[in-house]
């Protein structure tokens, strides 16, 4: 039960949604775009979030489409993780998104919601980071398309009022060879998903242009793709153990230590996952 009243809007166009957002802000109202609502509802329920209004974006047709044209796949931000899995258009994203929460919740969670989540794992970002996806963003000034690397730094750096419309993925990435691994505190997660929980480490790696590209969640407090780690992975004539040793040293922040996992165990898991990536993609 959400213990306070808030306004609910369900616009039919993206323009209407962003205008509404600005108008609400102008009236001093803190609004949230609302996709599946799993996070907003549970945070509100626990007194951790108090939006004055929510703007439900699921009624905007453009956000609810899959489209393949001009060598790119477009996935609307309101597509649920279950719909993405069923479409089977981008297997790596199936793996990354298909092991978030559980099936019932994935029927609600949207791609946009997971990318913009407050809970830090945002595992769908891993598939988009390694495939260098482009994000389509709408705001009052219009529509812009940005490569994910320009706007995803630890989290998606949207400006106030920006609405994530969807993502473009280049077709050559859709079938690229990949490795996608996830481990929770209880053990390895298979695919289809056989275990539920936040990641100790979750990793997506892809071989593109003869190079390994890899992104990680769980390791640090934020998900990341690191060019420095990839450089180490792609060095020739370096033994695997040495690559792993060097790669762990250059990850962008301290290894996270929390109740899900100690930093020491995370490092152990990270190293074994790196070994598997190298073994399978080198």
């Amino acid at each position: 039960m959400i213990p306070f009243d808030f306004e609910y809007y369900r616009p039919e166009t993206a323009t209407e949604a962003v205008t509404l957002y600005t108008d609400l802000a102008g009236r001093g109202k803190n609004a949230r775009y609302f996709g599946g609502g799993t996070e907003i509802i549970s945070f509100c329920r626990l007194y951790q979030l108090y939006p004055h209004a929510v703007i439900d974006i699921k009624g905007i047709p453009e956000l609810n489409t899959f489209e393949q044209k001009n060598g790119k796949l477009f996935i609307g931000a309101a597509k649920t993780l279950s719909q993405i899995q069923e479409s089977n258009l981008f297997p790596l994203l199936n793996y990354c998104g298909g092991r978030v929460a559980d099936h019932t919740i994935r029927n609600k969670i949207t791609l946009g919601g997971n990318l913009c989540a407050m809970i830090p794992y945002r595992e769908t970002s891993l598939a988009l980071l390694v495939s260098e996806a482009e994000l389509v963003i709408q705001n009052r000034k219009g529509k812009k398309i940005l490569p994910i690397s320009e706007i995803f730094h630890e989290s998606l750096r949207l400006e106030d009022g920006d609405l994530l419309m969807g993502v473009h993925i280049r077709e050559e990435c859709l079938g690229a060879p990949f490795v996608c691994l996830k481990k929770t505190s209880d053990g390895n997660v298979g695919y289809p998903q056989d275990r539920v929980g936040y990641p100790v480490v979750s990793v997506a790696a892809m071989r593109a242009d003869n190079k390994i590209q890899a992104a990680f969640s769980g390791v640090c407090i934020f998900p990341f793709r690191s060019r420095t780690v990839e450089e180490v992975f792609n060095k020739s004539n370096l033994p695997r153990e040495e690559k792993i040793r060097q790669a762990v040293e250059v990850i962008p922040a301290a290894i996270h230590d929390d109740m899900i996992s100690s930093a020491g165990y995370r490092e152990f898991v990270l190293k074994s996952m790196m070994a598997e990536i190298l073994e399978r993609l080198e």
Binding site: F4, D186, G187, R195, Y265, F268
Partner: protein, 778 residues
């Protein structure tokens, strides 16, 4: 004869309602005049309450009342009175209720609860049982010396410390035992607190009628207990309190205590007696209401070279959290059964309950015997290893037998103990033990098995009693009314089966009354301790005998013969020598009308009761005494496939062989045992209440507190041995809790064998195994 009674698998009487969603649970009842309550709970584990400001909360439209501890200066508790329903002066655990808001809707009450401003002055926190024991530790209760002891002679608090219970059990000559020991092993264990996670969170409705009658509707295992405590602490005549309990969505011991009912009563009292409903959120159910105890244990066992146990020393320190509830009783139960089902003639056990700034605890499936069993059964495996003996062989060699005595000197016989050796034999085949404890599969994988034995008797009040009433309907079917609550295992169906067997009539012609209403239902102590079928079953048999006696009396008049010549069966009273001479019970059940039109008799009502004889409290210095009427024993095993590279594992199979005395409903019994095993695997592998350094609960949500999920279950193998207990209905023994008891230990034994490291602190996550292997230099 097509009589349908015991020994056959029939669906639970309530199954159709449950699977169609029609079954009504306590919170399903809605009335227009109902008000709603929401609790304000502590965000500190230990703090002085400096002030509570209600002004902002009262500004919310629809708020009817806000109650704080100051308006209710009482202390309560079943063993020692150390607990106030709403905190006064200070809070002692994260999640402790401080105030309750009553509003027109749950949303209003909850919104206002969020606006109650509590000013705290944080105090140093007691965050583990070890810390609680230290002399310079902060004290959770400064007033331990002046608290009222309710059950004198069963609880021994030490004022000036955090120790609220010390139970001693002494048997034989320990000195001699150590002298005779050629191999000695010693180890320490630490087991975390955990949650019950019943599907239905704890909740209650309370109402005070204009005539002063108090009505409590609760999701509870103990309606008569609520009646007793509400009347005691609010100074009401017992009969002024009516408690009703519909179907309960799981209890696991968590609904034995009286907790939210007190708060709901206070809430109703504050709004002039209007009905108020209080439903805990999952987070509140996990932090505010009591949980499962934690344990720190040290065990030392000595044996001769041939494996015969000679001596044992046990130190069991239970973390009961901030208040006692039944924590002191669980320490007693653990101490009384400390040896496990093994012959150990020389032993000392010191069992303590200590206060900490954790959530307080109450009964948990098996009265927390799974925790002490974990420590003992891990030590048994270490001993087997030190002796170079097969772990199952060691257990068999030392299995208790009729003629032996329990740690508290109860003489065992085949009735009160059963046949553990037969269980071990059967288990050995069931899990294919002889293929080896540890088998390398190649590819870095190992398959390993671990075993554990279990035993448990109840810790019942010596005056615990049960009753049953049978009423006949005009169509010749019967209504059976008892005071036991249906919490899921199908007890009411089993009781109907017992009655059907006794009357030799179809169980489908026996209706059971699901709801318990203390103003109408016959009494039953509490639906706990695996004792329902045993205690209530005996009362049902007594009632059946009474019912039969009455049927025969009137049947004799109708059939013109002495009652002694008659039998009852298949819905008839008939002549023993010629069953074709009979009268239908529906003809005589509500009075018999002669062909001439005149009538005799009246409705036949059978009544019976049962009380357990010979229970004796434990002697304070030696522990001598008898807590429960009988044990149920069994043997369990778990098989895992362990990955040596990443320390992950899969639970492949789990097996239980239990001496059930007599299986009343085979599929029902298997389901109950399997449910226990599943809970045991969850606790052994992943469940733990995690507290921050400040004592705040870190995982009070199912997002972060993981249970064993559907799909992760292993193959379950469940079989029974039937050694009748002459005192149990048709020889049955209580087994409803027992499936959980040895499973965490068996899992740990399997994983320790697989990883070749001592895994002594559940939950056994891959990280815990990695840590233990790293510590062991592997």
């Amino acid at each position: 004869m097509n009589t349908v009674g015991i020994g056959i698998s029939i669906p639970k009487k309530e199954s159709n309602d449950k699977v169609t969603g029609r079954a009504k649970y306590n919170t399903d009842h809605i009335r227009p005049e109902l008000l709603h309550a929401w609790m304000v709970t502590s965000i500190y584990a230990h703090a002085r309450i400096k002030s509570i400001d209600l002004a902002k909360a009262y500004k919310i439209t629809g708020v009817r009342a806000i109650v704080t501890g100051d308006s209710c200066p009482i202390l309560c508790g079943p063993a020692i009175e150390d607990w106030s329903p709403l905190a006064r002066g200070k809070v002692r655990y994260f999640g402790e209720p401080i105030a309750v808001v009553v509003g027109d809707s749950e949303a209003i009450a909850k919104e206002a609860a969020g606006l109650v401003q509590v000013e705290y002055e944080p105090l140093p926190v007691v965050n583990s049982p070890a810390q609680a024991f230290q002399a310079d530790s902060p004290k959770v209760h400064e007033d331990l010396a002046i608290y009222e002891i309710v059950q004198a002679g069963t609880i021994f608090p030490q004022p000036g410390t955090n120790i609220l219970q010390h139970v001693k059990v002494k048997k034989g000559d320990l000195q001699k035992g150590w002298q005779e020991s050629e191999v000695v092993v010693e180890a320490s264990y630490s087991l975390p607190q955990a949650n019950h996670i019943a599907m239905e969170p704890r909740n209650a409705r309370a109402e005070i009628k204009p005539d002063g009658q108090v009505i409590i509707d609760s999701s509870t295992q103990g309606p008569f207990n609520i009646q007793k405590f509400i009347s005691k602490y609010f100074k009401l005549d017992n009969s002024k309190v009516t408690v009703r309990a519909p179907l309960v969505g799981g209890g696991f011991g968590g609904k034995t205590t009286v907790h939210v009912e007190f708060i709901a009563y206070l809430a109703s009292r504050a709004v002039g007696g209007r009905p108020v409903k209080l439903v805990e959120s999952r987070e509140q159910d996990m932090t505010s209401s009591p949980c499962m105890l934690g344990l720190q244990a040290s065990i030392k066992l000595g044996a001769a070279k041939d494996g015969t146990l000679k001596a044992g020393e046990f130190t069991l320190i239970t973390d009961v959290g901030a208040y006692c509830d039944s924590g002191s009783e669980m320490a007693r139960g653990m101490a009384a059964d400390c040896s496990g089902p093994y012959r150990l003639d020389n032993l000392h056990c010191d069992a303590y309950s200590v206060y900490t700034n954790h959530t307080f605890v109450t009964a948990f499936r098996s009265f927390s015997r799974l925790s002490s069993t974990f420590a003992l059964e891990r030590t048994m495996d270490k001993l087997a290893f030190a002796l170079g003996m097969d772990p199952l062989e060691l257990r068999k060699k030392n299995a208790l037998r009729p003629g032996d005595t329990s740690p508290t000197m109860v003489r065992l016989n085949k009735n009160n103990f059963g046949n553990l050796e037969a269980c071990l034999e059967k288990l050995k085949t069931l899990i294919n033990w002889d293929e080896g404890v540890r088998v390398e599969l190649g590819n870095g994988k190992v398959r390993a098995k671990g075993a554990a034995c279990l035993w448990k008797t109840s810790s019942s009040s010596p005056n615990a009693h049960s009753s049953a009433i049978i009423i006949i309907n005009d169509d010749g079917t019967l209504n059976l009314s008892v005071g036991a609550v249906e919490i899921g295992p199908g007890s009411k169906t089993c009781l109907a089966q017992i009655l059907a067997e006794k009357l030799r009539m179809d169980v489908n012609k026996i209706h059971v009354i699901m709801e318990v209403d203390t103003s109408a239902s016959p009494h039953h102590w509490k639906t706990v301790a695996s004792m329902t079928n045993y205690m209530v079953g005996n009362a049902v048999l007594e009632a059946a005998r009474d019912f039969i006696r009455q049927l025969k009396t009137i049947g004799g008049i109708v059939l013109k013969c002495p009652a002694e010549m008659l039998e009852v069966g298949s819905g008839r009273v008939y002549l023993r020598e010629d069953p074709e001479i009979f009268v239908d019970i529906k003809e005589i059940g509500s009075g018999y009308q002669y062909p001439e039109g005149n009538a005799i008799g009246g409705q036949i009502i059978g009544r019976g009761n049962f009380i357990m004889p010979h229970l004796l409290p434990m002697d304070p210095s030696t522990g001598r005494g008898r807590l429960g009427p009988a044990w149920a024993v069994g043997a369990q095993a778990v098989e895992v496939e362990f990955n040596q590279r990443d320390f992950s594992y899969k639970i492949v199979r789990a097996a239980t062989v239990m001496d059930a005395g007599k299986v009343l409903n085979p599929k029902g019994a298997r389901g109950v045992v399997m449910g226990g095993m599943s809970m045991g695997l969850g606790y052994g592998s992943r469940e733990a209440a995690k507290y921050s350094t400040g004592g705040q609960r870190e995982n009070p949500q199912l997002r972060t507190y993981h249970l064993l999920r559907l799909g992760e279950n292993p193959q379950y193998l469940v079989e029974f041995v039937e050694t009748p207990d002459i005192n149990g209905p048709y020889g049955m023994r209580g087994i409803a809790e027992h499936g959980i008891i040895g499973i965490p230990a068996a899992l740990a034994n399997a994983l320790s064998a697989a990883a070749q490291a001592d895994l002594d602190c559940p939950p056994l996550t891959p990280q815990a195994i990695w840590q233990a292997c790293k510590g062991a230099g592997k």
